[in-house]
Symmetry: C2
Subunit: 647 residues, 2 copies
């Protein structure tokens, strides 16, 4: 484990990229305003939010009852966090003014002791902190902390930061290892991330220590939630009741050091792993790092879909058992993939290893953005790898897995999570430490780092081509380390790395997925990467029974899928030849315009009309088309498959 | 549609067959005595039955409360029906005496008006017939009628028959098309079958008419159950409440003439189709026959597993949508396959078409008997086509699908259903009409038909070899028609048909799956069939996404499967070569002794240890073993698959 590299803030990076700029525009122009209207109850036909009104009531500015989920406040927090990042991408003084107004209301809603949760302030003031299992006060607090930190970093305004510091201090006054304090832990992890962010922004160690407390307390007493339930006389409140006390569901069955397998609710798990990795990096804690590494390996080597999706079990939106990765029944929540970006990013900060950047890239180009319709107006929570209209979204086992993105949800977690991910994309692009700057992602941009300004010009993910122009701010030698995607092989002569036109021996400079170029940089020095993108085939481990006989197609970071609209009926009858010839081409029209699709000379198996026949089906040539996975279900309801039978 | 052929009673046939005699022995020696003990509450560790005691209490012979399911009486009826058939296979005067005693109690429990249902007699006498949807009074009555008819046929004793006639008459007094009568229909179809059996045994048309009434009333008013629920003030009773009023679930959404697709609870549907076919045959009702045929075709061509299993949707133990046949999530209830034998048998009586006999055979050799452990002691309700220990029986979507047969169930439907099927096997072997005797199944036996005694000597299903020795009872010419399994092709010269050693042109004699041999028969005339059994490959229709790229192996009527115990880990990584070489061999030891297994030179795909790899897996030669499907899960918990990837 190397020394933790310095985090780069999203505000240091201005994305200017054919692929990502339009994503940022969509979330800024469509999702943020839409959610703002939802929060203000201004969208007819969408489940009432009441989130802002709840704060107004809690602040004494309005009369009425609390309405919504017990964790409704978190919608407010996530929106504010997204707004903060969006202001760094595209300043908008009117939006900022409205956000400031909301922050003022939030501040007024905060109680004198620092408490801040509108459900309990308005509805059940006597029941604060008594149902950590189901009522998510700590979860809401964590999101509010993230918002406060982000808003401060984006705008320099510390009003919300001060609110959440008071909230964190209040939490510290109640929870902790000391005998007289509560040994409670959050039912849904998140406050640990929020506390770590407060620590990073303020430098105050008490927040880091509190994050450590919550992480280390977890699983020490696996009966905590049971005891809590007994204490409150088996009552529940907050419109939300958990029948089962399955402590693996929220990762409270063992201490974080004992947990070797990713289990339970995928988002809760991955938020916890993210905080663990953040803390391990901040403290140089080798033991905690090893715990993270064990869980990382289990997730990546046994529980992840090829799209990066996570959660094979729809029951409890959970990880399934090892290698149990049903394509059509996948839970594969957008938020889980977003959380995996957070986890990978924190792991990367501890150890500059391309394996983390590869996963971050896989998530960013596949199962995170598949959550959003191409026009930004509708969202998937569930991102399956196979869809069958008439079954998906309808039949037992598949009801969660919709064939088309619906609109807003009453439990609005994924869309605002996508907003904050995409608007803060800059921070995932770089790390910087005393001797080096590390480029993790090939995204067109201008980055203001401490040692240099770097302009990245790229046509990634559609072409393997990136030019880094360096404007050093120091005369001293430093290293530019660039992550090379794991699929690039510098043994192949068409793949090459140049500095100012001169070819370097990239293979020699490559260490754990990064090429390291150390020199005294001159203004305008140019590092160029070229690696023509091939269509690649991927095979699942033989343990994965679901994918027996199948192949998936990849190109660059993109996973491809086959849809009915391009390939006709019964896409399960199509076959990808073992001597694959796939021709990439740029889609010139329609909603997929600009995406690189694949044209494949494949087969269609034509069999008997009987249900079962002793005549083997015969193969007929068929021209097949594959599209990037993230674009699926944008052209009407139809079949979709990522894994295709090979022939 | 030809004239209905005469039904042959099970008592006319003495099975003497290497395969089936031991099955009959098991159900007679193991299942019937075990169930008798259960009904008497003499088996510790098994859910209390209380079924006999309920009748004793209802009869005033004992004090106490009703206990058990609201349809607990049906367990009693099914046991008596099984006992009746068993007495024709293996007379047992002590057993018969005990059955007589129980019948006496049942008679005493019957109310003066003919009513007979211990739940309502003991517990809710005021609530008779008010919750047909959930309380299954008519279902219990139907089973009791079947028992009464069978017991009379087996023993000549009519005490139970008179009881059920009084019960039927009571039902006729309450239900019917007349304005003043109830237009109620049963929530779970079965009484229609019972009434038809009463009609066949007694010749009384009122029972047939009542069966017709229940069948034709169904779906006329799709709101019937809803209105019934309103009438009883949305209360439920009988320990049993149905949340949803999904009338497709019990096939009450349309009239039987309008129903074109098999939907809802598979057993209820198939019991209804059975009664429809029985009635259509009895009345020569072409319209009703066409309705049966439409449903038959939908089931057989779009909703049946290759093993004959039925019910692709575990929710509601139901048929799924067309071609939606998940192997691991299958409901595939033993009772549904048994019901399919009933349905096929009734269709066959109307039309001597081998397509019905083929399905009857498929069910008998595969997904009915797979419900019973080889020692007769444990039972599957669910007969999946793929099993994955750690997933099957454990995870969401698969909890119903156990990897090993458990013991008795509180809802004891499948084991006694298997008892009555296997003990009455004789009746499925033959039909007889004025001019011909029809052999449907190749089972070793001595049959006492009206025109002849026939001795069948066969080594089926392990060899395609059967000798029919005819002892005519008439000097007139008549036809012996023998069903030739659909997979036998007389174009192949090794397949042949001989009469007294002389080869006949079987192809010419073959009509709709039967060879017709018409002659004046002499005592000792011998008809010999020889068709060496080949291992056959079957492919699913391309619509079945679950079986893409897969092949299933068959030999004779047997469907084969692959188990972990024979084939090692990860059977999904095994491949069946397209140039299949499969060598059948007889298992010489262990629990499978006597079964023909298949030895296959196949492959095992060996891939990377990574979860996803760009290296294609390589194939290694592997010796594979397949076993008859019905024998699976008899050698410990392990993986199982019917459909295997072909390579």
């Amino acid at each position: 484990m190397s020394k933790k590299a310095g985090e780069v803030r999203s505000g240091q990076v201005k994305i200017s990229d054919a692929f990502w700029s339009q994503m940022q525009e969509k979330v800024i122009d469509v999702v943020i305003p839409f959610q703002e209207k939802v929060l203000n109850d201004e969208v007819p036909g969408v489940a009432k939010s009441h989130a802002i009104e709840n704060f107004r009531i809690a602040a004494g500015l309005s009369q009425g009852e609390f309405y919504g989920m017990v964790f409704q406040d978190s919608d407010m927090a996530k929106w504010l966090e997204g707004v903060a990042y969006s202001l760094t991408v595209k300043p908008d003084s009117a939006l900022e003014a409205r956000a400031d107004d909301i922050i003022e209301i939030i501040e007024k809603a905060q109680q004198p002791d620092g408490y801040l949760d509108t459900y309990f302030i308005v509805k059940e003031p006597e029941r604060r902190w008594q149902n950590l299992h189901e009522c998510h006060e700590l979860y809401c607090a964590g999101h509010m902390m993230e918002a406060g930190a982000a808003y401060y970093e984006a705008t320099g305004k510390d009003r919300l930061l001060r609110v959440v510091e008071r909230l964190a201090d209040h939490i510290i006054s109640l929870f902790g290892p000391e005998g007289e304090k509560s040994h409670g832990i959050p039912g849904h992890q998140e406050v640990e991330i929020g506390l770590m962010k407060l620590y990073h922004v303020t430098g105050k160690e008490k927040y880091r220590d509190m994050a450590r407390h919550f992480l280390e307390e977890r699983g020490k007493n696996p009966d905590y939630f049971y005891e809590e339930k007994m204490k409150r006389g088996w009552q529940h409140w907050g419109q939300y009741s958990t029948d089962k006390l399955d402590v693996t569901y929220n990762q409270a069955h063992e201490t974080v050091y004992e947990q070797k397998e990713a289990v339970g609710h995928a988002v809760r798990a991955l938020y916890m792993y993210t905080a663990m990795a953040d803390l391990a990096g901040a403290d140089g804690d080798e033991k905690l790092y090893q715990a993270c590494r064990t869980l990382w390996e289990n997730v990546v080597n046994k529980k992840m879909y090829i799209t990066g999706a996570l959660g094979g079990n729809p029951e409890g939106e959970s990880f399934s058992s090892n290698y149990e990765l049903p394509n059509d029944m996948a839970y594969a929540e957008t938020c889980a993939s977003i959380a995996m970006v957070f986890f990978a990013h924190r792991m990367l900060e501890m150890e500059m290893d391309g394996c983390y950047a590869d996963i971050m890239e896989k998530e960013l180009y596949n199962s995170t953005i598949s959550g959003m319709q191409l026009d930004g107006k509708k969202y998937f929570y569930v991102n399956p790898l196979e869809c069958e209209p008439g079954v998906s979204g309808k039949l037992f086992g598949y009801r969660h897995s919709l064939p088309m993105r619906p609109g807003w949800y009453a439990c609005a977690c994924c869309p605002p999570n996508l907003v904050r991910l995409i608007t803060s994309l800059g921070k995932y692009c770089w790390s910087e430490n005393d001797s080096a700057i590390y480029s993790h992602l090939m995204i067109g941009q201008k980055a203001e780092l401490e040692k240099a300004q770097v302009i990245v010009d790229t046509s990634y993910p559609w072409e393997g081509k990136a030019d880094y122009t360096i404007m050093p701010k120091t005369e001293e030698e430093f290293t530019l380390a660039i992550h090379i995607p794991g699929y690039v092989d510098f043994e192949r002569e068409e793949n090459c790395l140049r500095v100012n036109g001169e070819i370097l021996d990239a293979g020699k400079l490559l260490k754990k997925g990064y090429v390291y170029i150390t020199r005294k940089w001159t203004v305008g020095d140019k590092v160029s990467l070229r690696f023509p993108l091939e269509v690649r085939r991927a095979y699942a481990n033989q343990h994965v029974r679901e994918n027996a006989g199948c192949v998936a197609l990849l190109r660059g970071p993109m996973v491809y899928c086959f849809e009915g609209v391009d390939n006709g009926e019964m896409i399960q009858s199509l076959r990808i030849p073992k001597d694959l010839k796939a021709i990439p081409f740029t889609c010139e029209e329609g909603v997929l315009k600009g995406n690189v699709l694949l044209s494949i000379e494949g087969y269609r198996m034509v069999g008997s009309d009987e249900l079962y026949s002793e005549k083997p089906p015969v193969k007929e040539k068929a021209k097949l088309t594959a599209v990037p996975y993230y674009t699926w279900a944008n052209r009407g309801e139809n079949q979709m498959r990522v894994w295709m039978q090979e022939e």
